[in-house]
């Protein structure tokens, strides 16, 4: 039965994507397709961490973007003194540290609190992080370097794709697959999932739920950090809270599209959200929407999915 439902999700997904691609090619929006995929992969990357946290503890982590911003900020600061590679490692280290600190100071004291309380708490963490960045570093935007400098190796449908974009896309695909395998096949992965659904049973098996929680948050922070250091250099630079302000809502929409629990779904969802946003921004029929049409269309997608298919494209029903 489950299998059948899963298939149904895949069929719908395939149909939606095919339709989207055909419409885009037919209307001459082929560039939006490529732009959408490359901007959407950044959303997918952030969504990966959101799904991880939700899968293991049922929490909507509004601080996920800030793991990324803090990592980017660290990369920027360290890169003055040390080579890029080391700065990158340092940045990810700081992100993981932040994840652990948030888990210890905020998540753990609220372990038994309602999930909405935790949502508010993580939103508070995000705001605090942004405020501290402004406080210590001014609100000005800063440039941050790419890991891979080549810009023009590939051109797809008239859009040039940099090596950094490909790195982001590749890392996202690999990590989504790897994590899906980890959760479905390995003991630790299953234990993490079990800890949210059956905490007592997990404890009885001799696995500390609290330790698992720390591991999950550290891992999510690592993913958030990676999303930041890989995606932000492509946009040229960053300002305080960049990943929260510009990426968090599309990333959540991506995760919801994937059903909040599916890691490959987060990847796909990110790409779809990216394409929708790119099309909304450039297609002539949306020109009359005031302000930023992308924001509106992403919102519409979110609403439609939540009302019509709350389990997401790849999620299991029920």
């Amino acid at each position: 039965m489950d299998r059948l439902r899963e298939r149904q999700g895949q069929v719908i997904t395939a149909a939606v994507i095919t339709l989207l691609v055909l419409v885009l090619l037919a209307t001459g929006e082929k560039e939006s397709l490529v732009i959408g995929v490359i901007t959407g992969s950044a959303y997918g990357f952030l969504a990966l961490g959101l799904v991880l946290i939700y899968k293991s503890s049922g929490v909507f982590n509004f601080a996920q973007g800030e793991f990324g911003t803090v990592a980017v900020y660290t990369l920027y600061l360290l890169h003055f003194d040390v080579p890029y590679g080391f700065a990158l490692l340092g940045a990810l280290g700081v992100a993981v540290l932040m994840g652990v600190v948030v888990e210890r100071l905020v998540v753990r004291p609220l372990f038994d609190a309602p999930r909405v309380t935790l949502l508010v708490a993580t939103a508070g963490v995000a705001l605090l992080s942004i405020a501290v960045q402004i406080w210590f570093g001014e609100a000005t935007a800063r440039p941050v370097g790419r890991a891979l400098p080549t810009l023009d190796r590939f051109t797809v449908l008239g859009v040039q794709i940099s090596d950094q974009r490909l790195l982001l896309l590749g890392a996202l695909a690999i990590l989504a697959g790897l994590l899906a395998w980890f959760f479905n096949k390995t003991n630790l992965g299953l234990a993490i999932l079990g800890s949210s659904q059956e905490p007592t049973a997990t404890e009885l098996m001799g696995i500390s739920v609290k330790r698992l929680s720390t591991i999950v948050w550290a891992l999510a922070a690592l993913l958030g950090g990676l999303a930041g250091v890989l995606a932000v250099p492509e946009t040229g630079g960053f300002a305080p809270g960049v990943l929260t302000v510009a990426f968090l809502i599309p990333a959540f929409t991506a995760a919801v599209l994937g059903g909040m629990t599916s890691l490959p779904g987060a990847f796909l969802g990110g790409v779809i959200v990216g394409v929708v946003e790119a099309v909304a921004t450039s297609a002539p029929i949306f020109e009359d929407i005031p302000g930023s049409p992308g924001t509106l269309l992403v919102f519409v997608v979110l609403l439609i999915v939540l009302v019509a298919r709350p389990q997401g494209l790849l999620g299991k029903a029920g």
Binding site: I35, I134, T140, V159, Q160, T235, A246, T295
Partner: protein, 426 residues
């Protein structure tokens, strides 16, 4: 709660409200006096061109001090660096106090700075606070057209002189206390069109931020470009705080239209997004426009190499020529810059302040708001040697006569001054 208690509380509240209302009118009256120019100034100041001399409001000017209020964004969507602003805001006045202690009748100028958060609503709030709480005599807008327009409207209603570099004209024409100390966007438009033509370009793209304040600058450029025989191949508005996807979409449009030159009138951050996106697509047009903030070196530190072909008409020259125009600047910055190197934000403020000083001095001993504004509108030319000379005839709000043309240099990550004092037509 018992009945008796309720009655007692009710009586008490009634008594207190009564007392409060009795006092209210009285105290509100004194409040009106405390408020600089609150009632009287508004009445006197709004008559077009004529600023009543009997109502020469001297709030913010004492025997020993003149207070100037400056606002600019250091947080919000398109922020400038706060520390540089804090340092640069009064370098000129510090030097003046040190070198010529008797200037301005021996008064020291104190500059108060507030962050307007790139938000017009906030700008009005801080302008009011600077006038009423800090006792600012005049107000100065450091950057951001919408914030400048909003605050200038407040200033006009309250009879407070307001100064900024030239931005839009719409909304400021009627602001009776406003003075643009350099060319407005619309006044610069013919210069820009001419420059594009002189360089031999034909296909021009236009990207202007989606706010009513930029409409007149946009229209003036389109007219000027058509008059110069240029071909406008793309003409778009872009969100005031555009996202990455929006910037990329704009780049695709310009690229598809094959624009060789892009007239850009947006916040620096949007400019950076477009220029960076263009470079990522191997599309390399010349960006040109009226700049105040887009012509700051900060933009190059952040945006090189994408912004390597940027050119902006600017009220202030760049650091490469400042020594010949005004040798005091670098020296003063060394003395009062708290160890920071002299930069162009300081230079912009230096130029503004220097022009304002000339205006103060021309007004003489009777320094008050009406006297100051009447002096400025008296037709005298104020030439600071940094900003181009300004001249305001009666009721004229936009007194700029020329602009400097800045050219990006991504090797040094500094703008250089390609041409000084490019004269506006007419």
């Amino acid at each position: 709660m018992s009945q008796r208690a309720r009655v007692a509380i009710l009586l008490l509240v009634v008594a207190l409200v009564g007392a409060a209302c009795g006092q209210k009118t009285g105290v509100a009256g004194t409040g009106g006096e405390v408020v600089a120019g609150g009632g009287g100034g508004g009445g006197g100041g709004t008559a077009s061109g004529q600023h009543e001399p009997d109502d020469n409001d001297t709030s913010g000017v004492s025997d020993s001090e003149i207070v100037i209020g400056v606002h600019a964004p250091v947080t919000g969507a398109s922020p400038l660096p706060q520390r540089t602003f804090d340092i640069g805001k009064d370098i000129y006045w510090q030097l003046l106090a040190a070198n010529e202690p008797d200037a301005l009748g021996g008064r020291r100028v104190r500059v108060v700075f507030r962050d307007d958060e790139f938000n017009p609503n906030r700008a009005v709030e801080v302008c009011r606070e600077m006038v009423e709480s800090e006792g600012a005599f005049i107000l100065v807008g450091g950057g951001g057209a919408d914030q400048i327009t909003a605050c200038a409207e407040y200033a006009a209603e309250n009879g407070v002189p307001y100064f900024s570099a030239g931005v839009n004209e719409a909304g400021l024409e009627e602001a009776s206390t406003y003075f643009a100390l350099s060319l407005t966007y619309a006044q610069q438009a013919p210069l820009i069109a001419q420059r594009i033509k002189d360089e031999g370009f034909e296909k021009v793209g236009v990207a202007v931020a989606d706010t009513p304040s930029f409409q007149d600058g946009h229209d003036a450029f389109v007219d000027a470009a058509e008059e110069a025989g240029l071909d406008i191949v793309a003409d778009d508005t872009i969100n005031k705080t555009a996202s990455e996807a929006e910037a990329l979409a704009e780049v695709q449009k310009l690229k598809d239209a094959d624009a060789e030159v892009v007239f850009i009138l947006t916040s620096p951050l949007v400019y950076l997004g477009i220029a960076g996106g263009a470079r990522n697509q191997n599309y390399d047009p010349v960006f040109i426009g009226p700049g105040i903030t887009s012509g700051l070196n900060q933009v190059l530190t952040f945006g090189c190499p994408g912004v390597a072909k940027g050119r902006f008409f600017s009220p202030f020259p760049e650091l490469d020529v400042i020594d010949e125009l005004d040798p005091d600047y670098v020296a003063a910055y060394e003395q009062f810059g708290q160890g920071e190197p002299a930069d162009d934000i300081g230079l912009a403020l230096w130029g503004l302040n220097k022009t304002i000083r000339l205006m103060f001095e021309a007004t003489g001993d009777e320094l008050g708001r009406a006297a100051l504004m009447n002096t400025i509108e008296g037709g005298e030319v104020f030439d600071s040697g940094v900003f181009a000379p300004v001249e305001f005839s009666d009721g004229e709000r936009f007194g700029g006569t020329a602009a400097h043309l800045l050219k990006a240099d991504c090797d040094t990550k500094l703008y250089s001054t390609e041409e000084q004092f490019v004269q506006a037509e007419g």
